[in-house]
Symmetry: C2
Subunit: 416 residues, 2 copies
């Protein structure tokens, strides 16, 4: 199959490209490298050193003898999107090219708008370009389990049959997202569902659980590593907990830590996306996969990280700062996830094993963590309309400006 | 109360301003006049001649001795929105400033994106500006009954209690919108609900039924008339049916005509919005009103328009063109609407009376309809990704270009 990956330079996009190549598929990708820029914007970087994309292509050529087609550009430009689809004629499009950080979307009004507008526009452009140039292609759209929030009932895969006031219907399960970012994924789900209906497109909407891990079997060389974020804005809770333990900072589950979420190993998420790609739905079918493997509470993750830190000789502590998010800190959580199992999904990695693996890699790259240790603790507050001052305050001081001399002519500086 | 109306120059915004002034409230408004431009874009205009906004203000000053504050500008500019809220310090904001046409949103990819991006950005900017400058204000947000689609169960007001797999919860009622425009309102509902939660804002989300009518008691002079659209893109089904009868065109209920929707008279919609404004919710409360008076099928509207046309000596015919929308043409439809009744809502106008009133006004402005008779019949197709050629084809031919003379030097034209 020919698979086009939007966001191929990202945390999931890159290992997915390697995984699909390994399975004999042809792979092409799109990226505008905005995640690299936005991680720099909040003062952070990837714990793993990652090569430029041109270098990544060259390494794949050298090590695997394979080519990855690449189109640098922005899904915000419709002509570009249509052009890429015309050139590549993909059988499947895995759409990962979205702003993916909840805290980033909550920084201030401009980050909120950019998140929702960019995500929504990219998806609409892809849908229209598919309708015009590739109506037989299958869209695998990356959403999030966070679209559902934490209802007090089981969470089905997208749709549920209900009885209400004596009548029955099969309806989309209600969404109650917890950040502007999570809402942007809800909006995408609406648009993809609607486009599938009016244009008879094939679509799989992936309610992705939180992914953990750095490695997949295809990452056989450090030059093939994917990015790994550990700062408060871009890193997941588990990533931050491990980074905190490595850096000797307290591990910080927010609030009471009873927040439960669905999780899946990077390798098993790649397995899942590949299963979706290799088993497309019919035309006009919009299906939803709850793509996670098991649910854990934030406290369970913190305790696991602490236990493994102790195993390897570190001295972790756990603190509970106030939750910067507005969310239930204790709640029912029981999402279903049968669709992928029906396609042959089997768990290949266990959370403790992967956590040990992450510790090993972060210890190797400890100097990169040390250089950014100030970006791990939380500053973005859901209740605040502007977290930029807090974000700026934690960045290391720049070289001080020379004191101004009021007697000097405009534009001149006295020597420092 | 001080009420800020965004979209004050529009079909609902203008009569709402007059109604609130009549009830002793202070009124200020925002508009960028984009609806006037977009109606011209599709080759149409308002059946009623409408003055410039400056003229509207002057007429209100002359006839009523009242001032309407006005800020010309775009909700897409956050600094502008925040500035207006700082200056006006409103008790309530009635947010009507959105692209409101489903067919307009379905013209092509650019109209789809503009609709969703503009509507979503304006609402986000308002929410952030409220949080920063007017957190005690009450947002009355114009949504649409079309957010719900046509489920096979009763439609509650925003939320419903369900039992699923043995557990219960109160959840948002699922949304199944039928156009990019309707989805944009779903997205707004998500953002307003979330902002109310994280910032303790007061919000009323109005699931507005289709409004019919030209007049309210406050429109005592032709210079106070509101706009009235009758073209396929901007006019409602009833508006188009009456215009078709006046123009001697066939009345065209789409498809089988069994599509049922909720409707409300313009005057009663203004009553409803005023009741919402005068009875704000508590801080942190997000409430939903299904704001319609009665449900009718498209066939019932067509037959009503035809019956009244015959009463007044016209010779209407009814035709059923294929439905350009992708929607159920026969379906269950039973939305609840008790919240406004609980605040004192009472129906003051009956559909047949208002329909007669619209006929009288459109006959008075018949020459304006005649001049735009080519824009009433449908061209925008839901199944097509680009309806611009069809839209262009129905516009009256411009003066023909002179034939090109291949022998003439570049830039020269032979005489026609």
């Amino acid at each position: 199959m020919k698979v086009l990956i939007t966001g191929i330079d990202g945390y999931s996009g890159w290992p997915l490209a390697l995984h699909l190549l390994g399975r004999g598929h042809e792979v092409a990708g799109i990226d505008n490298f905005v995640t690299r820029r936005r991680v720099r914007e909040v003062g952070s970087w990837s714990a793993t050193p990652i090569p430029t994309f041109a270098r990544r292509q060259a390494v794949v050529r050298d090590l695997l003898g394979k080519e990855i087609g690449f189109h640098r550009g922005d899904l915000g430009r419709f002509d570009f999107v249509r052009h890429v689809l015309e050139v590549e004629r993909p059988d499947a499009i895995v759409h990962l090219a979205e702003q993916r950080s909840a805290p980033y979307s909550m920084i201030d009004v401009h980050h909120a708008v950019a998140t929702q507008v960019d995500n929504l526009t990219g998806t609409l452009h892809l849908l229209y370009a598919m309708r015009e140039t590739a109506p037989q292609a299958h869209l695998v759209k990356m959403g999030t389990m966070g679209e559902y929030g934490t209802p007090n009932v089981d969470i089905p895969e997208g749709f549920f049959e209900i009885e209400y006031r004596g009548r029955k219907d099969q309806l989309p399960f209600p969404r109650q997202a917890g950040s502007w970012y999570h809402w942007s994924k809800v909006f995408d789900s609406g648009d993809v569902m609607f486009a599938s209906k009016i244009w008879q497109l094939k679509a799989t909407d992936v309610m992705q659980g939180v992914i953990y891990g750095i490695r997949t079997p295809e990452i056989t060389d450090d030059r093939l590593l994917t990015r790994f974020d550990f700062d408060e804005t871009w890193g997941t809770a588990l990533n931050r907990f491990i980074a905190q333990a490595v850096l000797g900072l307290p591990i910080t589950p927010y609030g009471r830590g009873g927040q439960r979420r669905g999780f899946i190993a990077l390798e098993d998420s790649m397995q899942s996306l590949r299963l979706a790609v290799e088993n497309p739905p019919d035309r006009g079918e919009y299906r939803v996969f709850n793509q996670f493997d098991a649910a854990y509470s934030i406290n369970e993750l913190a305790e696991l990280a602490a236990r493994i830190a102790i195993e390897i000789g570190l001295h972790p502590t756990i603190e509970h700062p106030p939750d910067p998010r507005i969310e239930a800190e204790e709640h029912y959580y029981q999402p279903l996830h049968d669709n992928l199992v029906g396609l042959g999904y089997r768990r290949t990695r266990e959370l403790p094993d992967v956590t040990r693996e992450i510790f090993r890699d972060l210890l190797r790259f400890r100097r990169r963590l040390e250089a950014r240790r100030h970006v791990v603790q939380p500053t973005v507050q859901w209740a605040s309309p502007d977290s930029r001052p807090a974000l700026r305050a934690r960045l290391p001081p720049r070289a001080p400006h020379p004191p101004e001399n009021p007697d000097a002519p405009a534009g001149a500086h006295s020597p420092a």
